[in-house]
């Protein structure tokens, strides 16, 4: 922890985006080789009760944080304490508990605002998750600004949650979907993306980090190019917000979404960030309580932001838990978390490369700590099943990104993903179990 101050001073992922210059380097090359000493991993692991579990008699090696991250005691306790001491429905309560609950909920929004460096708290809308947030933008931005023949530009590596809402809108409004291609390394070449921006492109919506391959997209440049073409931009930060600092003002993105549960927080809570003028300009997503100013049988006027987009009783305790999760990662330092995970990725890449029948899928220059692979002659389901028998939890399948799998010509991959609590010993457990797979299925 001695080097902490120095580590925090390291250039963050998104530094330089407003300097008009180079592609953001994440993580920097000097960080990549060094996975020790960014923080005390064992102390961090002690915060996560579930990491002490054993599976089939083996210590749990949880390598599926890209699907959902485990929760630290601080998050579990924040939710428990909120329910035990401060819980009531928010807003309009005349009693002290309701006021306390409302304050806790508002405070969580404040934490998110600081976390993303948004201009205003009311630019932070709580949703059920990233999927819900994208659906909100598709429905409301789509309603206000997208007409027949208008184009929405996505990329081939998107998660289904950033494809299907736009396809639904296409059916409803006759918009045109364009897909920026992915190269063999799993990258979205910037020039190809730019080429697909046209006079009718109203919105570009894309992931910051691929959930399958870990590819880090050059979002600063993509946002700038989209804006030059007159398009608005939505960033799906579900996979990146856990690894790197996000600054929505520096990025200048119009919308950004993420889920709480991948950020070591509760399920059922997510965030939509939107620029104030855009959130003001688009209609409500759902109607109900809390999102109105006044209702008569003839006419309803809507509440100001952010309540306009939060119909009904929101996930209050989950928002409180998300606030605690953000406090947790912020205290640890996203720069240091990113550096630790980059070290694990480098170590895992090296370790798995020695397993002959194994091929790593996705070799982008800039990658987050997601490692997809296949093994010649062994089906991903069988690999994942065998790994489970050794306590190693990974995911196998199409990872909700079938268009990307089709592009790669693979029905499925095995995916190991690393979070702030993973260790090189767990990478070793993965590698050793994969060596067993090789013996069991191939020899």
């Amino acid at each position: 922890m001695k080097a902490a101050a120095e580590e925090i001073e390291r250039p963050g992922a998104l530094e330089g985006i407003d300097g008009g210059g180079s592609v953001s380097v994440w993580p920097s090359a000097d960080q990549r080789g060094d996975h020790a000493g960014f923080y005390d991993v064992e102390a961090v692991r002690a915060d996560f009760p579930i990491l002490g579990e054993t599976m089939h008699g083996y210590p749990l090696a949880y390598l599926d944080s890209a699907a959902s991250a485990q929760k630290p005691f601080q998050v579990i306790e924040a939710e428990r304490a909120f329910y035990a001491r401060d819980y009531a429905n928010i807003h309009r309560g005349f009693y002290v508990l309701s006021q306390r609950s409302t304050e806790c909920y508002d405070q969580a929004r404040c934490v998110v605002k600081e976390f993303l460096n948004a201009r205003h708290e009311h630019e932070i809308v709580f949703t059920r998750g990233a999927t819900d947030a994208i659906n909100l933008v598709a429905a409301s931005f789509g309603e206000a600004f997208l007409n027949e023949g208008d184009e929405v530009l996505l990329t081939v590596l998107e998660h289904h949650s950033n494809i299907v809402p736009w396809q639904l809108l296409r059916e409803k409004k006759g918009i045109v979907l364009k897909m920026a291609p992915v190269n063999d390394a799993g990258e979205v070449p910037l020039d190809e993306f730019i080429r697909l921006l046209g006079p009718r492109t109203r919105l570009a919506a894309f992931a910051h980090v691929s959930n399958v391959l870990g590819t880090m997209l050059p979002i600063a440049e993509m946002i700038r190019a989209a804006h030059e073409a007159g398009a608005k931009v939505l960033i799906d930060a579900a996979q990146s917000v856990t690894h790197t600092k996000i600054d929505v003002q520096a990025l200048d993105c119009d919308f950004l979404v993420f889920s709480g549960h991948k950020l070591y927080g509760p399920t059922g809570i997510g965030v939509l960030y939107g620029k104030e003028e855009l959130l003001d300009a688009i209609p409500p997503y759902q109607g109900g309580g809390d999102m109105i100013a006044s209702v008569s049988l003839e006419r309803t006027t809507y509440a100001p932001l952010p309540a306009k987009f939060e119909a009904g009783t929101p996930p209050i305790a989950q928002a409180v838990g998300l606030g605690a999760a953000i406090d947790y990662v912020t205290a640890l330092g996203l720069d240091r978390i990113g550096a630790h995970e980059a070290g694990l990725l480098a170590y895992a890449t090296e370790r798995l490369s020695t397993i002959k029948p194994l091929t790593i899928v996705g070799t982008a220059v800039h990658k987050a700590s997601v490692l997809s692979f296949v093994m010649d002659g062994v089906h991903p389901h069988d690999i994942a099943q065998m790994l489970d028998s050794r306590g190693v939890a990974v995911r196998a399948g199409h990872h909700c990104a079938q268009p990307l799998m089709a592009r790669l010509g693979l029905p499925a991959t095995v995916r190991a993903s690393f979070g702030l609590y993973n260790t090189t010993a767990e990478v070793d457990a993965l590698a050793e179990a994969l060596e067993e797979v090789e013996v069991m299925f191939l020899q």
Binding site: G57, Y58, H379, P380, H381, D382, Q385, H398, P411, F441
Partner: protein, 150 residues
Amino acid sequence: MSDSVEIYPKAVLDHGRHPRNRRAIADCSHFAQSDNPSCGDDVAVSLRIDQGNVIRDAAFDGRSCVLATASASLMTELLVGKTPAQAKMLFQRFHALATGDAEKFKDSMEVETARMAVLSGVHAYPVRMRCATLAWKTMLAALENERSQQ
């Protein structure tokens, strides 16, 4: 130590690595194909049923995990000599084994049930049920899909 490995006993690995009857039947009388979109697996099942309504040949083809492959391989071995009605009974027994409900059919087709029991470990892993039953469900579809004589 680990209950997970029981899903891959030796016999399953053997069928998985050296599947029996993985081929097409040129003069098959019944055929069906299906896939498992969650993993991209696909399997085709072809049967040759003779005039006396007996399955004389059964084969499968396609791309799948060890579990699905072993299940398909074993199935094709067990189908030969059965009538379509018996094939459906076999599936009921397999399904019972794979869902941990084997007691249900204790009294008949004992030999076949014993052979299929190598796959019963799947009952502990509901997510793998689709793998284990893919070929079987395709076989049921094939029974309903008689190819017109050319």
